[in-house]
């Protein structure tokens, strides 16, 4: 097995990882230090696994790239219209005011994938080495401290046994390793567990966002027109809403984001989004258009109290892996970039002082607490937890938080892991999803699509020759709990038809896993009840091939 050495290893080529790389290169240059920075991304290219709404706050890009002509940054349209719509089953009302923290004036619509491609070019200009299409599945430790990571062995059969074309992974030994894998990163998860980094913190809670990119006839929506919808098809006890962002070239990004603390085991975010598209408000915008791309991702919504301890000896966590997301605006890009910059600042100091111990890296936390990250996150620290009791109570509570500066009437609110919110169908106190939307689940393949058609538009592929990357943690318990008691929620919670419940003629039920469809959204890892499912990283270069998501 080959070993390579570097000063800094960054795992993940999204906005936080790229920002870390860029800012670290800048800081080291300032200090006159030459160091090696390796950034490794599992997608086949930078941007292929990046998905976001997105409406982004542009200021942080000026911070990250001082001296770069702002117009060079490939944002899409500037926001020129920003409305919040309350959707009912039959009609919609435009709210006459903005929900606090949801004002988008001065912001830009964007394809985050395109922005990342741009950032990768900038990083490479600064000497960062970027390698795409490599999956990392192991954290290397020595004496209980992180010393790097190892890329995945490839050329193995379904059981992991080497085949003739076995290619061993490469050990990357690094003085500092930065975990920038995105939401629920598989390595960050291991790191957090190994070093108990969530001790005393809230459980992280998540939303799943399904997104489609459409090309629509001219006049359907203006570039820079931004709509957020509340209400239909979500119930009072389901947290979330829709977004519609008008882009240049008659394109429009649409999606539905739903909190994964929903109760109904048969709830299906993808299908809910299709129903959402049939409302007259949304369907009018899509009329005559054509689907270009589909994708899905999860968002960490736990907020300030759910951010784990972000550092240990020789390692830091940034971006979505760190839970950097501001509610209720659902914006994380600027926080991801900022957290990456602060981690970079810390790393640069550590390298200069030749001290990357936990004590030295504690500076990262200090920097965050002194930055606008805390200023943004702290006032809404109780936002999401407040909604565990439903939208009306949550809304009321959010109102009081707004008045009291975030504390609400109860101080710090606890949260519970999302999978624990799922109830058995027999205990569900409302109509299950399929009954609730009876007659609306026949997709016409023009406006609405089944999952199979949608995932075809994600370009997803996975090598046949590898261990199935979705691991049922306890198969016996899974059959009993997930299939028999909960009626296999996996078949509905999955954004991309990975899980299929098959009942044969004799009535025997079994869950079949079509790992080749996986969008890497991690919902199964988060929401599967019982002992659940572990999402492991598949071969590098596998997964979706997003173009402009």
């Amino acid at each position: 097995m080959d070993t390579v050495s570097t000063d800094v290893l960054i795992i993940g080529g999204g906005p936080s990882g790229l920002a870390t790389a860029i800012h670290l290169a800048d800081r080291l240059k300032e200090k006159g230090l030459a160091h090696r920075i390796l950034l490794i991304e599992k997608g086949s290219s930078i941007g292929s696994h990046i998905l976001s709404g997105a409406v982004v706050k542009p200021e942080v890009f000026k911070e990250l790239l001082p001296g770069v002509d702002f117009s060079e940054i490939p944002f899409n349209a500037r926001v020129t219209k920003d409305r919040t719509i309350l959707l009912g089953k039959h009609r919609s009302i435009t709210l006459p005011f903005h929900i606090p923290y949801m004002n988008n004036s001065g912001n830009y619509t964007a394809s985050l994938g395109q922005l990342c491609k741009y950032l990768a070019i900038k990083a490479q200009e600064k000497g960062v080495e970027i390698y795409t299409g490599f999956a990392i599945d192991e954290i290397l430790c020595r004496d209980g401290k992180v010393i790097g990571a190892k890329t995945k062995d490839t050329g193995v059969d379904h059981h992991g046994h080497p085949l003739e074309n076995f290619q061993p992974g490469t050990r990357v030994e690094a003085r500092i390793t930065i975990f920038a894998e995105g939401t629920r990163g598989s390595l960050a998860k291991m790191l957090i567990k190994k070093f108990d980094l969530t001790n005393g913190k809230n459980e992280q809670v998540y939303s799943l966002g399904c997104k489609e990119l459409w090309s629509v006839p001219e006049g359907n929506i203006g570039a820079g027109h931004v709509y957020h919808t509340m209400g239909y098809p979500l119930d009072n006890d389901e947290f979330g809403g829709g977004f519609i962002y008008g882009l240049n070239d008659h394109k429009v990004a649409i999606g539905l984001v739903v909190g994964l603390d929903y109760k109904d085991p048969s709830f299906d975010v993808h299908d809910a989004m299709q129903i959402w598209k049939t409302t007259s408000f949304v369907s009018r915008i899509l009329k005559g258009g054509r689907l270009l791309e589909y994708g899905a991702k999860t968002l960490p919504e736990g907020g300030y109290y759910a951010i784990p301890k972000l550092y240990t000896d020789n390692a830091m966590i940034v971006g979505d892996s760190a839970g950097m997301l501001a509610m209720p605006a659902l914006k994380g890009v600027h926080l991801a970039i900022k957290s990456g910059m602060l981690a970079a600042q810390t790393a640069a100091e550590a390298l200069a002082n030749n001290d990357s111990s936990e004590k030295s890296l504690q500076q990262y936390e200090t920097l965050i607490n002194n930055s606008w990250i805390r200023k943004e996150l702290y006032p809404v620290r109780n936002f999401r937890q407040g909604f565990e009791k439903g939208l009306i109570l949550g809304g009321l509570h959010f109102g009081t938080q707004f008045i009291t500066g975030g504390a609400g009437f109860f101080g710090r609110l606890r949260s519970h892991p999302d999978y624990k919110a799922t109830v058995k169908l027999s205990e569900l106190k409302k109509k299950p999803f399929k009954e609730r939307f009876k007659g609306k689940l026949e997709f016409d393949k023009a406006l609405t699509f089944d999952k199979a058609t949608d995932i075809y538009h994600s370009g997803v592929h996975h090598d046949e020759q590898q261990v199935v990357h979705l691991h049922i943690n306890n198969p016996e318990n899974f059959q009993e709990v997930n299939i028999e008691q909960y009626d296999a929620p996996e078949q509905f919670l999955c954004s991309s038809e990975v899980y299929e419940l098959h009942t044969n003629k004799a009535g025997k039920k079994e869950l079949r896993i079509h790992a080749e469809n996986c969008m890497h959204c991690r919902t199964c890892d988060i929401k599967s009840p019982g002992d659940g499912i572990t999402w492991m990283v598949p071969n590098g270069g596998n997964g979706p091939e997003f173009q402009e998501m």
């Binding site: 890329t151 050329g155 075809y456 071969n539 590098g540």
Partner: protein, 646 residues
């Protein structure tokens, strides 16, 4: 002396993203690119060879624009040591002959000649996904003057300066022993290519790739580029074959899904509609003088391939276009067939009765089995003596390596895997002449989405014709013709390649063409070694139906089915009344081989499988569930509307 392994690779657009420029040539700049799949298998074969021969030097070479450096760096990241690129604007528009010439000149420049004191092996992919010709490996071997084995799936070196290759032949395979140096082309049925390693990618990032221009390697412009190539592409039209939308079966378990399929099938409704978009109106024929470029060459020669002591069916099919071309050329143009082998005289009459005017016999007991070196040498000698204007070969694995090797000897281009052959003319606006008559060879290209017409300007004009495309001509029993013999000059050098073993399965081939129902098993059906696929075929046979089973490429790769049962490019083209594709994802090559079936039923667990875009009826489900159900129904009398032949 340490062994050197040279891999020839080509960068190609990702299949499905291929675009074509206005000039009918591949637009290489815009689409996303990968290393051609077959070439990736060649790369892996090299890495496998090094496992057995540590210390071997691994070199990767390519020819193309500067962007091909990406492919070379990928090869380095897989484990190769050095990379060379031949890149020159003057090479633009080169056909396979010119490409073979240019690449072999680069290799010779690097010191890899037939007299090289150090052993080396040149590995290549069987064919490219954008060109599909499979010519270049043969042409490189001929040009350097070394032996070759093409369509190889396993390659080893014996440590005594020989290469042992497992070569696919019609209906089976052959083990061959070749002395080094030699050229081996790999089918995508060997060991799948490994993934790059990170350490390799880091090495690739920093490696200097040596780039040559044609002057660097001493290659003149005479025989390269669009002007030097013996063949040109003159016309490309879209192939449009539209099926009405698929009818999917609905049901909640296998029984109801099969019920639904049968109900839909009986209802029918889906009829194959075939449209061929015609090219835009031809420009008016200018008033240029006509030029006969044939320089006295006359007549058509075909090759009769002998397998298992019989003339192979594709060689008989060939006599249909040969006769047609002779009629179009007029002037009493003769069809001459060359047959090489042991005790072949009795077969001459069969050829004559199928349409040959003359049969030339080369009877030699050392030539019982096909070998490219003596066969190409004999063919070239016959061509020199007889001066035919056209030479036709069946596009079998033998025909497809023999034709380009001969083409290199006679400086003629070759058109591969044709589905249409005609006689036309070519208006040269620059020279202001009209070349007539000229062979028009039509072949599907760009992943079977286009039909290209290719012309050659050097006689003989050589083409290979896809098996299954033409009908075997009506037999006229008692027809008279000339039978002559030819005694070639052969040397021991023509027999340096030794056949160690020949394995040919029985049946398969013929019965596949005659079956009314074909059940094809794909990668997804091999858990029980195609037991259920064969079971369905057997059940139908039991009902008195002419049914057969076939497979897609990956199944052949896994060794579960023999090559003779492979459907699709370089496999077979079949047109049964009902084609049932099970567990087949629908790779474009497979689709090409079955899309003209009357009715197509697809069964696959993956609802987004491409096969469903090309079928009339579909079931989404696991084959283990669906097929037993279907077998039961067949046993109860359902035979897909085909009448039993008692």
């Amino acid at each position: 002396m340490a062994l050197t392994i040279i891999s020839l690779i080509k960068q190609v657009p990702v299949p499905g993203e291929m675009k074509m420029g206005e000039d009918g040539l591949m637009e290489r700049t815009k689409s996303k690119s990968i290393i051609n799949i077959d070439c990736q298998f060649g790369l892996e074969a090299g890495l496998q060879l090094r496992k057995l021969h540590p210390g071997s030097r691994l070199i990767v070479c390519s020819m193309g624009p500067a962007s091909f450096e990406n492919a070379l760096r990928t090869a380095i990241s897989m484990g190769y040591d050095e990379a060379y690129l031949l890149s020159d604007r003057k090479l633009g528009g080169s056909d396979t002959y010119a490409t073979g010439l240019a690449i072999s000149t680069m290799l010779q420049h690097l010191g890899f000649t037939k007299d090289s004191p150090d052993p080396f092996i040149i590995l290549a992919g069987r064919q490219t996904s954008d060109g599909d010709t499979a010519h270049v490996p043969s042409q490189v071997a001929e040009r350097i003057g070394i032996p070759q084995a093409t369509f190889v799936e396993r390659v080893e070196a014996d440590g005594a300066g020989n290469v042992i290759a497992k070569r696919i032949i019609e209906g089976g395979y052959q083990m061959m022993k070749l002395p080094m140096p030699c050229v081996i082309s790999l089918t995508p049925t060997g060991i799948p290519p490994r993934k790059p390693s990170l350490s390799g990618a880091i090495k690739a990032r920093n490696l200097k790739i040596t780039t040559f221009g044609i002057d660097d390697i001493g290659l003149g412009t005479e025989k390269i580029g669009i002007n030097g190539s013996p063949t040109i592409v003159v016309k490309v039209v879209d192939i449009v074959s539209e099926r009405p939308p698929i009818i999917m079966s609905a049901g909640h378990n296998e029984a109801s899904l099969v019920d639904s399929l049968i109900a839909n099938f009986i209802k029918g409704g889906n009829v194959l509609e075939k449209k061929e978009k015609e090219a835009r109106k031809e420009a008016e024929r200018p008033d240029f003088p006509e030029k006969d470029f044939r320089d006295g060459a006359r007549g058509i020669i075909t090759w009769a391939e002998v397998t298992n002591g019989k003339i192979s069916r594709p060689s008989l099919e060939l006599l249909t276009p040969a006769r047609n071309l002779a009629n179009l050329l007029g002037n009493d143009t003769k069809v001459v067939t060359l047959i090489i082998g042991k005790d072949v005289r009795p077969m001459a009459q069969t050829l004559i009765e199928h349409g040959s005017d003359e049969v030339i016999l080369v009877d030699n007991e050392r030539l019982e089995e096909y070998l490219v070196l003596p066969f190409s040498s004999i063919f070239a000698q016959v061509i020199r003596e007889r001066k035919p204007e056209i030479a036709l070969f069946a596009a079998t694995t033998s025909g497809r390596e023999l034709a380009p090797r001969i083409g290199m000897k006679t400086d003629s281009g070759v058109t591969a895997d044709c589905t249409g052959l005609g006689i036309g003319e070519y208006v040269d606006k620059k020279e202001k002449v009209i070349y007539t008559p000229i062979l028009e060879s039509r072949r599907p290209t760009y992943g079977e989405s286009k039909l290209a017409t290719i012309l050659g300007f050097v006689c003989p004009q050589i083409s290979t014709a896809r098996a299954g495309t033409f009908e075997v001509p009506q037999l006229v029993s008692g027809k008279q013709g000339i039978v002559s013999t030819f005694t070639p000059v052969l040397t021991e050098k023509d027999f340096v390649v030794e056949i160690l073993k020949t394995e040919r399965g029985e049946g398969g081939l013929q019965s596949l063409f005659e079956a009314d129902i074909i059940i094809a098993g794909g990668r997804g059906t091999t858990n029980d070694s195609l037991g259920l696929i064969k079971g369905l075929a057997d059940a139908l046979t039991g009902q008195g139906i002419k049914a057969e089973w076939s497979s897609s490429r990956p199944v052949v790769d896994e060794g579960v089915a023999e090559y003779a049962r492979q459907v699709g490019q370089t496999g077979k083209t079949l047109r049964p009344k009902v084609y049932i594709a099970v567990g087949i994802s629908g790779a474009i090559q497979h689709i090409a081989g079955m899309k003209e079936s009357e009715k197509i039923i697809a069964v696959d667990h993956n609802p987004k499988a491409n096969i469903f875009h090309h079928a009339d009826f579909g079931i989404v489900g696991e084959y283990q569930d669906i097929l037993p159900e279907l077998i039961e129904r067949v046993k109860a009398g359902f035979t897909f509307g085909i009448e039993a032949k008692k």
